[in-house]
């Protein structure tokens, strides 16, 4: 089964630091057919990941890991199924 590990980082609070984490996991098959194909494409061509919007600050981005490969995608470009998979926790 092809699984995606997701970590949400950034934001005004600095998610991804030592105490504040936001993580999730889902199977590629949980995504719609279109999103599955898109994710496949992004992992195949990571240089085509959309850039963060110029001038914006404190926005989240998502580190999406499949196997040994990780890509980082700005929140505005992440499908809601992936956005909603994470849970914020204190460590």
């Amino acid at each position: 089964m092809d699984r995606l590990k997701i970590e949400r980082v950034g934001g005004v609070a600095g998610f991804g630091g030592p105490h504040l984490k936001s993580r999730g996991e889902l199977a590629l098959s949980d995504l719609s057919a279109a999103d599955q194909k898109a994710v496949e494409q992004l992992f195949a061509e990571p240089d085509k990941v959309p850039a963060a919007r110029r001038g914006q600050a404190d926005a989240f981005s998502y580190r999406i890991t499949r196997g040994a490969q990780t890509i980082e995608v700005p929140e505005h470009a992440v499908p809601s199924a992936i956005r909603n998979s994470v849970k914020d926790v204190l460590e």
Binding site: G11, V12, P18, L42, A57
Partner: protein, 343 residues
């Protein structure tokens, strides 16, 4: 159901729109999405170009208004921006709307009265806020043209509009976008975040008429939820003691501790400490002298997107001389601040 996915590059969407295995309805929606995505991308590129051109030619611009309009929108727990306009935000029964509106107006007054700046762009730009963004959304941000506030999850964080320093922080990102135009990585990213913390904290102190001794120098104290407080976290960041255990996001204290690729919310620690040290070395109100030096360094020289912390330190040292030629104590305080962090 309309296709709302936006992770997908246009060439992939185009290919999918020609995939006969997909329904005709979906293929039509994919074609529509390609068109809308293209137009949105053009709009964003144009907005970025406009900001650059405006900054370069701001002296000749006509001011939109003598004082900025302040507007508020309700996203109603969706992520659709800007949301529904709120007709009378000042008297709204919704606490988030009322706080975002009133505090944004006070930030406008702070910049006008203390720094003689007319809004985010210094030309009366409308200050727009959207509240109730997303579901239990643990963030506040500046998206390049407006402020966005989440409600918090009620556990780690409460409503982000409860932090006046958070509101000042977000609006200052807009000021930076319309002045130095700092990037969001490396030294420039850390400076970008630090400048928002400095002016967010200064705004909170100005609002409460606190001098540098009375100020707590905490960032995000008023948005901490019960679960965070229970673990001993009293703030996001502490400008006086960036590495303290009570910080949810503890930061380095020396410039040499900043590592490549570090999140700007962490690399902002050393310049935050430099500002705090300069303010407390001089004494009085933070915005009276040291704040003026930082503002002059931020707005007085045009865009420098990749500015290093060392270059910003040099600019503030020079600014202390330029703005206060007869007050050696101002330069000494600024110098002490940067030396504290190894610059």
């Amino acid at each position: 159901m309309p296709c709302t996915c936006c992770i997908i590059p246009n060439d992939v969407l185009t290919r999918l729109s020609q995939d006969k295995k997909l329904s005709a309805t979906l293929r039509k929606q994919l074609v529509d999405t390609v068109q809308v995505s293209h137009e949105l991308r053009e709009l964003r590129n144009q907005a970025a170009k406009l900001t650059s051109v405006t900054a370069a030619r701001s002296a000749g611009l006509v001011t939109l208004a003598a004082a900025p309009s302040v507007t508020a929108y309700d996203c109603k727990h969706t992520q659709s921006l800007p949301g529904t306009p709120v007709p009378k935000p000042k008297t709204s029964s919704d606490g988030s709307v009322k706080r975002a509106f009133n505090q944004t107006g006070k930030v406008a007054k702070f910049y006008q009265q203390v720094f003689n700046r007319n809004s985010i762009d210094d030309h009366g730009m409308t200050m727009m806020s959207s509240v109730h963004f997303g579901e239990k959304y643990n963030n506040a941000m500046w998206n390049g043209s407006q402020m966005i506030y989440g409600d918090g999850d009620g556990s780690i964080f409460v409503d982000f509009t409860r932090g006046s320093d958070v509101i000042g922080h977000e609006l200052t990102h807009g000021v930076t976008q319309h002045s130095l135009q700092l990037a969001y990585s490396g030294d420039a990213g850390g400076l970008n975040e630090s400048i928002s913390d400095c002016f967010g904290s200064m705004f909170r102190q100005w609002e409460s008429k606190q001098d540098v001794k009375k100020a707590d120098w905490l960032i995000g104290r008023d948005i901490m939820g019960a679960a965070a407080k229970k673990k001993g976290f009293t703030c996001l960041r502490d400008m006086a003691d960036p590495a303290a255990k009570h910080c949810l996001a503890p930061q380095p204290t020396k410039y040499s501790q900043i590592t490549p690729g570090m999140d700007p919310h962490y690399s902002s620690g050393p310049p935050n400490l430099a500002f705090y040290t300069a303010c407390t070395t001089l004494g009085g109100y933070s915005w009276a002298r040291i704040g003026q030096v930082w503002y002059h360094s931020l707005t007085g020289f045009g865009p420098t997107p990749n500015m290093t912390m060392k270059a910003f330190a040099a600019r503030t040292r020079q600014g202390a001389h330029t703005l206060y030629p007869g007050e050696a104590a101002v330069f000494a305080a600024v110098d002490a601040g940067w030396k504290k962090i190894g610059l």
